[in-house]
Symmetry: C2
Subunit: 391 residues, 2 copies
Amino acid sequence: MSLPESSSRVADIRPFRVMQVLARARELEAAGRHLVHMEIGEPDFATAPPVVAAGREALQQGLTHYSPAPGLPQLRQAIADYYRDQRGVSVAPSRIVVTTGASGALQLALGLILDPGQTLLVTDPGYPCYRNFALFLGARAHTLPVTAVAGWQPDVHSVASAMTDDTRALLLASPANPTGAVIPAAELERLASCLAARQSWLVVDEIYHGLSYTGALPSALNAGDNVIVVDSFSKYFGMTGWRIGWLVLPESLVEAADRVQQNLSICAPVPAQHAALAALGSDAMAIHEQRREAFCARRDVLLPGLRELGFSIPVTPAGAFYLYADCAALSDNSEVLARDLLEEAGVAITPGADFGDHRAGQHVRFAYTTGLEAIDDGLERMRRFLRAGGG
Amino acid sequence: MSLPESSSRVADIRPFRVMQVLARARELEAAGRHLVHMEIGEPDFATAPPVVAAGREALQQGLTHYSPAPGLPQLRQAIADYYRDQRGVSVAPSRIVVTTGASGALQLALGLILDPGQTLLVTDPGYPCYRNFALFLGARAHTLPVTAVAGWQPDVHSVASAMTDDTRALLLASPANPTGAVIPAAELERLASCLAARQSWLVVDEIYHGLSYTGALPSALNAGDNVIVVDSFSKYFGMTGWRIGWLVLPESLVEAADRVQQNLSICAPVPAQHAALAALGSDAMAIHEQRREAFCARRDVLLPGLRELGFSIPVTPAGAFYLYADCAALSDNSEVLARDLLEEAGVAITPGADFGDHRAGQHVRFAYTTGLEAIDDGLERMRRFLRAGGG
């Protein structure tokens, strides 16, 4: 007898190409090759020592039972204080839900606002999971192409013309993955207002918000009442594997979020919640700031290096740890270029196809989640490869 | 301007009644009252020391980056070994996905098999979240009433007659919450076979599987090829707040599960994965077995005590840490009884309404997640309350 089938929702969920890159990279390394890794969207730094110490202390104290569904009260308060002190915006702790990474926050946020058959607007290029969160919920994603010259962010005209009666929300990231692009505060306000007029939500993923190289960024929470913010301790706070993030909701969604979180997650990982509290403390914040400066220094080496090699990056990205580079002058197929760079130059990067369809074949993403020495090495390897006629 | 609305899916998701009990219990305790807690579905034991030590060691070693989406290879292998050694069933590690608690496992499993509009069969009474996982996915839940005389588990005739063309799966727990009932292996096989004939899945939640008081239980994995098993380190292994569980899938769903897990969760919490590895080790297992014996001893005090008070529990539950008691001889409204026991006797329990509608008004759940002394105290408090004319 044949087995029952899987749901049709999962057939639409695409795997990340970068997983193939990673798998092949592991094979090459197992065979003795030395590689430069610029494919990974994860800080190379270990979690800061004060955060690790707080996690260890929480375990020692036996703080391993469930927390309230929206998170430990002291952590929600500390996140509210962080908004007040670092981002200049007043947020009641009741509006904050602690989640299992930004993944948990995105799933909760989209579940709260999207019904089956409804549409979420996302950017192309953009974080590939956005679309898949919508598909998992039985909803649809409609992509808005964004371009380097327009700062890799959507504008109010393209959003307005893409909206239909089924549109419930626009989801964008600032700083964005894969482009590092920041959206100006004024544009966020225009978007929020345009969406509000159509009874729709603006969901802003601020997971890279702390990693800004042009001074403090305004929070999207200032842009309107219909704004939902997703954030995480993964990137700036260096806590990827702990799986801890948060969501800021308008009061009107708080009660529903509590119910959904109770049912779907029970709560976010509790030792990680105690560690996250320490991540917001001054000792850890000093370390996170040093690391932000290190990322900036890497950007300032990698960006001119790539331009010199013939990659086009018209606008210097203001945040995150990615460069989304146009490789049209070097190759007519970014997947082939990424494969060749891996196989022949030993440099692992991510082809544009992971982030959408719009001009994906002429773009690749470099993550500067490796040290300056490795970045210099990677640039030199690519220089030799391209001089030898590669690309 | 009014805010956009929430999705209609969340309007259907009910809060747990036990949360109101817990909130009121906290108020009473803040006012100085001493309470006996028998409402909480969480072991009172702290995580076993060897597991805590492994978690602390993982943090110390900086093992806080992402893991592969389906989990650390050594943990998947250890879970496979556990099935072989403890449950007498051979499972390839590739079929095991490490998840963020049983919550993450249920969500992944149901997302893999249910499309919007399709139906999941669940028992009434049953774990209230099951229904809500289906609703969150845009699917439906159809409840099968189960009774004490039939061992609180569904039989193949009721399942067969409840199935429609939209039915994609039956989800049951064994041992079950709130009843502690175990389903016989032969009945599982009949159910799996009946469902397979209709191209449907049997999903079995084995989260209480280690907490058996009648010897080792057979795994549902032996019941058929269309069986999906959900499990967790929360209950028997005492790791609730860590949020770590797993899913066992047929090979046909493995690739899709990897894609969905990548996109929706990235991975389960990594320090918890390292700790879970230690939870399967012999030092920790010896502690878990002692605790299982302690739960059994509690059951053997609470059960006759409740019967003596006039609660009816026709069948001695074989597992978990719950007694689902018929209180019809004491009250005509289990919610009122639960409220009065809390307010007047200082005993916190959960009304049947949390677990469904079927005869919910004449049932309450007692969790023996508190020590023998507290159980004796709780029984004495209830005795005084009922003698004084309460109930």
